[in-house]
């Protein structure tokens, strides 16, 4: 149409300006800043890749990476695993599907901060829900947020928070499988557990892949739970909280930016690897 160019530019401009100012420019600037040693806002000296070499000898970043990977393991096994099991179960029950959908999904709408505070109360040593229950049945109280157990204690709300999300994704994928697939299977005598393993799961494999990538890259953004429940202490430091401490608390922008770049590269690598490992023929029906 005549005069389209004007509209193309006009309509794209606000979004382009906002995103350039608050996403693209800052991202490039972070990469640039990661090559400097900074103190506060004003002084910075170019140090090349010093910040990156420093990362290799930084014990904290190794610990933070390992903690992030540990949470990732729990997320893959328990979050994605439970979500899949729950979705299979709900897909096969006769009534109450809507009820379980609603109940399983609702933690998602609650902020991580509120859930963290809830778990502060659940884990509390003196009166918390868990120790209250233990005391009631005559057991010893347990220090849930201890030096050795904190990371696992934090993984619980992290996993719990998003199970419902993946559950709904799986359930939606399952509802798209045409019923003649199941009818054919029934004629072959394939039902129950076998049906799940040989039919349902292979048919939703591409959705499982999407969920795994979402779960893995999502773990790199974990912040709220670790920050509110433990402030990154007691062996719970993850990449997000460590970056926050270095860049914002210590105002060490250069090193903080290097950690941020590391998080991005790590995330891209992990999604590429996941994609490769799960490469399979896409199922279309």
């Amino acid at each position: 149409m005549k005069g389209d160019k004007k509209y193309i530019v006009l309509f794209l401009l606000p979004a382009a300006l906002l995103m350039s100012t608050f996403v693209y420019y800052p991202f490039l600037r972070s990469v640039y800043l990661s090559l400097f040693r900074t103190s506060g806002f004003f002084s910075k000296t170019y140090v090349g890749f010093d910040n990156y070499t420093r990362m290799f000898s930084d014990d904290m970043i190794r610990a933070a990476t390992l903690h992030t990977l540990e949470i990732m393991l729990y997320v893959i096994v328990f979050q994605v695993g439970f979500a899949l099991i729950l979705a299979v179960l709900v897909d096969n029950i006769r009534w109450g599907k809507g009820f379980y959908r609603t109940v399983f999904f609702f933690p998602i709408v609650i902020s991580g901060a509120a859930i963290s505070l809830l778990f502060v109360l659940i884990y509390n040593y003196q009166f918390g829900m868990l120790n209250g229950a233990l005391a009631k049945f005559g057991f010893e109280k347990i220090l849930w947020l201890s030096e050795t157990g904190s990371l696992k204690a934090i993984a619980v709300p992290t996993v719990w928070h998003y199970i419902g999300f993946y559950f709904v994704l799986f359930l939606t994928a399952m509802s798209k499988i045409p019923s003649d697939f199941y009818e054919a299977a029934k004629l072959e005598g394939i039902t129950g557990f076998k049906k799940t393993i040989y039919l349902t799961i292979p048919l939703i494999i591409s959705d499982i892949k999407v969920v795994l990538i979402l779960a893995i890259t999502g773990t790199l953004k974990v912040f709220d739970f670790v920050w509110i429940l433990a402030r990154g202490q007691n062996g719970t430091e993850v990449l997000g909280t460590y970056m926050y401490k270095k860049a914002i608390v210590d105002l060490n922008f250069g090193y903080g930016s290097a950690i941020a770049v590391y998080i991005v590269v790590f995330g891209v690598l992990l999604s590429v690897i996941t994609n490769r490992l799960l490469k399979k023929e896409e199922v279309t029906y």
Binding site: V120, K221, A260
Partner: protein, 292 residues
């Protein structure tokens, strides 16, 4: 399921199989209900405790609240001014939603319905943007906001949140708009619509469902984001509810009743709204995930 009934006359083993299916169903319901309890009971526990005095919470957190004691709620409103944070949260999140829908809608319209050079590049850039987390932009954005004197103002959170959510919104809305039939556009053109009127009179009304689900998603994302809030809006007068919760956990960590009432006050309104618009939320979130 119905399968076993339909098959019953054909097969001798039907009664036994039917019983097996029944036990399967019973186990399914047991597992599902158990999981449902893990999501319902903690909330019940915290709301219940919010109506007790802190000493009663400590003595027996499982007993039912004997009466609706409002002390904790009065404290939440008086001592930590939870209402102010609520207001801040709503202003900033609704502001973000409005800007994302307007600017995202305009850009999505172009990407969905126009052919021009560089379009495929723009598409690739948009998808790649999804891989940039807030960690990788926070320092320069903070620097910018300080220079523009926007730190600790509502704009200080609205602008970065808007920019951060535009990618998702543009991708989802454009995907929806590209399914609108071309005939609609042609008819409007013959009726004398220019491009702008076509956007406001044809594409906006027809894309209402995707705008609804995108706005819910953007709202939740903005409302629940602690990381940016801690950095860009940390003063009492502007901080949103998530920062306040963070503050409570460090400042009032021993006032159990107050903590319980703060969590209840944050969670209950969201839950009530959720029950009403649940369908849109699930749709928006799942669509966003698949597209992303």
């Amino acid at each position: 399921m119905q399968q076993s009934q339909a098959e019953a006359p054909l097969s001798y083993s039907a009664p036994r199989r039917r019983r097996r299916v029944e036990t399967g169903q019973v186990i399914s319901y047991a597992v599902l209900t158990l999981w449902a309890l893990t999501t319902i009971y903690p909330l019940f526990w915290i709301v219940n405790n919010s109506f007790k005095l802190s000493t009663d919470v400590m003595n027996n957190s499982f007993s039912l609240a004997a009466s609706f004691d409002m002390t904790n709620y009065i404290n939440a409103f008086d001592r930590i001014n939870i209402l102010k944070s609520y207001g801040n949260s709503l202003i900033m999140s609704f502001g973000t939603v409005a800007l994302v829908l307007i600017f995202g809608g305009l850009a999505a319209y172009i990407i969905a319905r126009f052919h021009f050079r560089g379009k495929s590049i723009i598409n690739s850039i948009l998808v790649a943007t999804l891989l940039i987390p807030a960690f990788a932009t926070v320092v320069p954005v903070y620097d910018l906001l300080i220079r523009w004197k926007l730190v600790n103002t509502y704009w200080g959170l609205i602008l970065p949140h808007t920019a951060g959510n535009l990618t998702f919104a543009i991708l989802v809305i454009a995907a929806y708009m590209s399914t609108i039939p071309k005939e609609m556009e042609e008819a409007a053109f013959i009726d004398g619509c220019n491009r702008f009127n076509m956007f406001t009179r044809v594409f906006l009304p027809m894309s209402r469902p995707v705008f609804a689900s995108a706005s819910i998603f953007v709202f939740l994302w903005s409302y629940n984001d602690l990381f940016s809030a801690l950095i860009f809006v940390n003063k009492d007068s502007v901080r949103p509810i998530v920062s306040l919760l963070n503050e409570i956990s460090s400042q009032y960590g021993t006032d159990f009743g107050l903590m319980a009432s703060a969590v209840s006050l944050t969670v209950i309104p969201v839950l009530i709204v959720y029950l009403f618009i649940q369908r849109f939320i699930e749709k928006g979130m799942t669509e966003g995930a698949i597209k992303g």
